[in-house]
Symmetry: C2
Subunit: 392 residues, 2 copies
C-alpha cells in the first residue's frame, strides 16, 4: 500500500452490446504497463472476446489459445467462445476438467500443462479460463507457471467468480491437506464478464455469491448496500432487476479492484476482504465442508462479526439489523445447527491462516461501508456472541 490513488475508471461500449462498463485496474505495487488490465462487464459479450483480444494486441506473436473449462460450462458457452476466438484468427485448443473444488488438484494442473505442451504453447500464447472459481484459480496458476508465465484471460461464469475470485490475481490449487496452499499471485490481461451467462447458474450458487456481494456493501460501498436493501428479494436471478445486477457486478468488481490495486499481496488493506471469513472458515471446517458452502458460511460469519462489533460498541444495532435483512433477502442461513459444539469453532479459529502470534484477526464493521481490522477480540466475546446469535 504505497499511495491513496484510486485506479482509473473508464466506461466503454462494445459493438452490438446494449451496454458495457469497463474498469481499469493498475496494480500500484508494480506499475509496469504489462501488469495493468481491464475488467469489462457487458451483456451478450462472449461473441466479441476474440475481437477484444486482438485490440489488446494478443495474438501478434503467438496465435495459440488454450481454453480451460468444465463440462457443463463448456457445453453452454464453449462454442461461443471458441468460435469468437477462431474468427479472430486464433488457434484454439481446449482442456475440460471435472467440476468441483475436490478437483482443484496437482493432477488437474498436470492436465493443463499436458494440454499446453501438446498445443505447443509459447510464452506469448494465451490461456482462457472459462468457468467459476475452480477453473479460474487453476488456469491462473497454470498460466503463472507454464514457461514461467504466459498470457491469461479470465472469463468468469459464476456470480462468485465475477465479483470475487476472477479479480485480484490469487491463483492456486489445493494440497491434499489444505485449500489453496500452493499458488501464485498472477494478474490476467483481461477479465471479461458477460452477465447473461448467469441464467444457467444454480440458485444455491447465486445465493452463496450474494454473501460476498453483501460483504462489499458492508466493507466498502454504502451505495451498493442501500440498493441491495431496496430489492425485495436477492435469492434468485429473476427477482434481481437487470439494473441492480449491473450495479452489483460493477460495484463489486470496482471494490475488489480498488482494494487489490492498492495492496496486491495482502499487506494491510486486502485483509478487509476477509470480512465474515474468520468465523466463516471455522464454521466450514467444523461442519466438514458439508453442511454449508463457502458463501453460506461467510454469511454466518458476517452475522457473527456484526454481532461482535455491536457487542464491542463499534457498530450500531440498527445497521447490524440492516445487514441481517440483506442476508435474509438472499435466503442465506443465519444460525448454526443446534447440535454444533461451539468450542470446536473456538479451536478452529485458532488454526486460521491469519492467526499471528496467537491472536485471531477480525474484520469488524464500524459503519456501512467501513470496517476496521483488529486482533483485540477476547474469546469470551466470541463465545458469548456465538451462543447468543448462532444457535437461536
Amino acid at each position: 500500500m504505497t499511495t491513496d490513488t484510486m485506479p482509473d475508471l473508464m466506461i466503454s461500449t462494445l459493438p452490438n452490446s446494449s451496454e458495457s462498463r469497463s474498469i481499469a485496474v493498475t496494480l500500484q505495487n508494480d506499475p509496469t504497463l504489462s501488469r495493468s488490465y481491464e475488467i469489462v462487464i457487458a451483456a451478450h459479450s462472449l461473441p466479441h472476446l476474440g475481437t477484444k483480444l486482438r485490440d489488446l494486441g494478443l495474438g501478434k506473436k503467438s496465435q495459440k489459445v488454450l481454453i480451460v473449462s468444465n463440462p457443463v460450462i463448456f457445453k453452454h458457452y464453449g462454442d461461443a467462445v471458441q468460435t469468437s476466438l477462431q474468427d479472430s484468427g486464433f488457434e484454439v485448443a481446449k482442456v475440460i476438467l471435472p467440476a468441483g473444488e475436490r478437483y482443484k488438484t496437482a493432477k488437474s494442473l498436470q492436465s493443463i500443462y499436458d494440454a499446453a505442451l501438446a498445443h505447443r504453447m509459447e510464452r506469448s500464447s494465451l490461456m482462457v479460463a472459462l468457468g467459476g472459481g475452480v477453473v479460474g484459480d487453476m488456469t491462473g496458476y497454470a498460466a503463472a507457471t507454464w514457461l514461467r508465465g504466459i498470457e491469461l484471460v479470465q472469463v468468469p461464469t459464476t456470480l462468485l467468480a465475477m465479483v470475487d475470485s476472477a479479480i485480484g490475481g490469487k491463483t492456486g490449487i489445493n494440497h491434499p491437506q489444505g485449500k489453496n496452499l500452493i499458488g501464485a499471485f498472477y494478474q490476467p490481461r483481461l477479465v471479461w464478464i458477460d452477465p447473461t451467462v448467469l441464467r444457467t447458474l444454480p440458485a444455491r450458487e447465486l445465493r452463496a455469491a450474494m454473501a460476498e456481494v453483501i460483504k462489499y456493501g458492508v466493507i466498502w460501498d454504502r451505495d451498493l448496500f442501500s440498493k441491495l436493501l431496496d430489492s425485495p428479494r436477492l435469492d434468485q436471478l429473476r427477482y434481481i432487476k437487470p439494473e441492480l445486477l449491473d450495479t452489483i457486478l460493477y460495484a463489486c468488481a470496482k471494490a475488489k479492484a480498488e482494494v487489490v490495486s492498492k495492496d496486491e499481496k495482502e499487506g494491510n488493506l486486502r485483509a478487509i476482504l476477509n470480512y465474515g471469513h474468520t468465523i466463516g472458515h471455522a464454521v466450514e471446517m467444523v461442519t466438514n465442508y458439508r453442511t454449508f458452502n463457502h458463501g453460506e458460511a461467510v454469511g454466518i460469519g458476517m452475522v457473527a462479526a456484526g454481532a461482535i462489533a455491536v457487542e464491542l460498541k463499534l457498530w450500531t444495532q440498527a445497521e447490524h439489523e440492516q445487514q441481517l435483512s440483506l442476508i435474509a433477502k438472499a435466503r442465506l442461513p443465519q444460525s448454526l445447527p443446534t447440535d454444533i459444539d461451539l468450542e470446536q469453532i473456538i479451536v478452529a479459529l485458532s488454526l486460521d491462516k491469519k492467526v499471528s502470534a496467537g491472536k485471531i484477526q477480525f474484520i469488524l464493521p464500524t459503519a456501512i461501508g467501513t470496517v476496521k481490522v483488529t486482533d483485540q477480540v477476547s474469546s469470551e466475546v466470541v463465545r458469548k456472541v456465538l451462543r447468543q446469535i448462532l444457535t437461536q
Copy 2:
C-alpha cells in the same frame, strides 16, 4: 529494461571472515524494497548465515526455516548451516532430495511441499536452498508457490550455481517432456556464497562451470576475460589462485546481477546470457544429454558462435583465438564426435524455445565484453561453421 542505472555495489565485511564482498541487486522492473537483495561472497561464511538472516529481519514473525539439500551436500555442509540457524534462534527442519537433474520433478517438489506442511511453515517462514542448480531451482519454485510465496535464501554450493543459477530469480522444475517448462520468476532475499565449499566440487563440474565464467568475460567483462587469460590453467581448483577465484565469483555475480536487474523477465538484455547456449542446447539434445554436460555443450556453443561471428566479419580472428585458448585452459571440448550428424543439429536448432517466427536467435561477440543479438544468420553459415570447426 527501463533505465541504464547500474545496481549499487557495496563492499562489506563479515565477522571472522578474512574478506567478503557484497553486491546489492535491485530489480528495476519492480523497485519495491522487498524485492531488492544482496549477494554476499565470503570465505568461511557458512557459520554466519544465521546472524545475517537476523540482520535482514528474517525470523521476526516466523522462526521456521526449511533447509532443502541433497545427500552429499548436506553431509558436508548441513551441520554448519543447521547449527548457525539454530544458534540464531530459528526452528529448523530439512528435506533431503536425491541429487541430479532427473529428480527436478513434480514429485521432488511435492516432497518439499509436504515438508513445509509438516513444519507448519507460514508466509513469513523461510526456505534455504543448500546445493547446486537443481536444489536451487526446485527450492526457489517451492518458495514461490507455497502459500503463494514465502521467504527464500540461496546458498549455492557449486561454481555453476554461484555464478549463474542462484542469481536472477529463474526457478522451476522439469516436465517429463522438457526442461524447465514449469516455473516462476522469484527473487531470493539473499544469496550467500562461501567459496570454501568448492573444495568438494568434482573437477568435471568445475570445468563445466568455467564455460559460463568464460561466457561472462566475452559478453560483459573484458577485465575478467584478461585475468582468466593470465591464469595458466582453469581446469582444477588447485590451479586457480584465491584472488582469481574471488575475482571470478565477484565479476560473474555482478555481471549476472547487472543484466538481470535491468531485465528481469527476458525482454532484451537478458538474452545475451544465452551466448553459447543456442548451439549448445542443440548439441545436448542431439547427443541425448549423455555425451556432454551442460557447461561442456555451452563451451562448444561458444566456439561455434565465435566462429560464426568471425565468418560474418563481426569479430576478429585474434579475439576468437583468445576465447579458444580459455576454453582449452578449462579443458573443455572444442569439437563434436566425428560420427555426429550435423543436419540433426540444424533441425534441433529450429526447435529452440527462443525461435521466433522461424528465425533462430544468435548471440554473437563483436569485441571482448560486447555481444549483439541477431536472427540474421543463414543456415548456410551455420552449416559451414559447424563443418569447419566442430569435427576437425
